[in-house]
Subunit: 193 residues, 2 copies
Amino acid sequence: MRRSREDAARTRDKIVAAAAALFRARGIDAVSVADVMGEVGLTVGGFYKHFNSKDALVAEAIERASLESSLKKGGDAEEVLRAYLSWAHRAHPGRGCPVAALCSEVGHQSASTKRAFTHALQHFVAQVAALFPTKSRAQQLHAVAAVVGGLVLARGTNDEKLARDLLLAVSEEVLAQSSDRKSRSTRGKPDSP
Amino acid sequence: MRRSREDAARTRDKIVAAAAALFRARGIDAVSVADVMGEVGLTVGGFYKHFNSKDALVAEAIERASLESSLKKGGDAEEVLRAYLSWAHRAHPGRGCPVAALCSEVGHQSASTKRAFTHALQHFVAQVAALFPTKSRAQQLHAVAAVVGGLVLARGTNDEKLARDLLLAVSEEVLAQSSDRKSRSTRGKPDSP
DNA sequence: TGTACATCAGTGAACGCGCGTTCACTGATGTAC
DNA sequence: TGTACATCAGTGAACGCGCGTTCACTGATGTAC
């Protein structure tokens, strides 16, 4: 039966939020429209009162995920980086960075999905740049590639030691190579004799 | 009708090779058993004379891809790295690194697929370690994360400038931070005053 | 070496299943008077 | 403010489709004598 406009808007919002979590946790193709609607407590037929297609939801879910959770807000570079490369972030992709969650499968998705992913990536690059303002742009992009790559590879492997080593190595090295050189000496990493 | 043992072995080999290419190019879930058999010129029913399931093929295809094409063989570090982070490698995942091609979707696959991916990742880490023997293990893992992340993100975005910048930035920075410091000064990258 | 028979690689139709999407329907909400 | 009617959020069954897998069948290959 019909719901009030406020209810309908809330429903739409819940659908996007559920999709943003499920797509990141299980992948886009592996999550059905019925899965998303079930998560919200509704049946599948009503979905098309809110969206033209699953594809439209995917794009909106990625934009949402990007705005709410690419990087931890506040805190210094070290704190943010360690949270990003944490065991908890590895274990819970559904609440984490959408760039890391979707990076390799987005290449096989629709143009609108790629567009949304690109926005998320640009947003992530801007966040990393703000976190390391003294790095060159090349160093910032290098850091983006390393943190995303480190998290994704740590998630993809069942070799837990390798996963931990990857997360730790990337956070140590990105911080050590930061132009903020104070952290290098205090960490005492052997570099050159 | 029945084929000779040599023919059958060749067929099996062709199925694995076709699967290794298709899975990397289009993703595991998006490629059907019929797609793979069609690529070899056969019909779908015969597949199960060679493999117990699609899952068994996936694992074997990843192992195959890992052995034949993770990194360009021979050449110095700079040459290998620039080939890995090249526009051609971005454009042709089907012939490229399986770790980069499958990294984010492998998290949602079966245990045997994760196992095969882990082997591929371990192999890739060993190759990178051999390429940069003077780097510490943390620096080597950092390089692994950065090159895979750079390639995957360059593939995922439709912002071609950002894609080129990522590929270039990662190869420059990984080489610049190599303990082989000769390349740093010759490249003239502004780092610290 | 020849022959009779068992084997099995490959065919192509069929299976049950889950997908994205559509549709007739329901009944509370929103609107016009 | 009350009432009559149009709207539309949500239901749940149905649609066509492609998937992984199975199966009865074919006929050349491999083997036993």
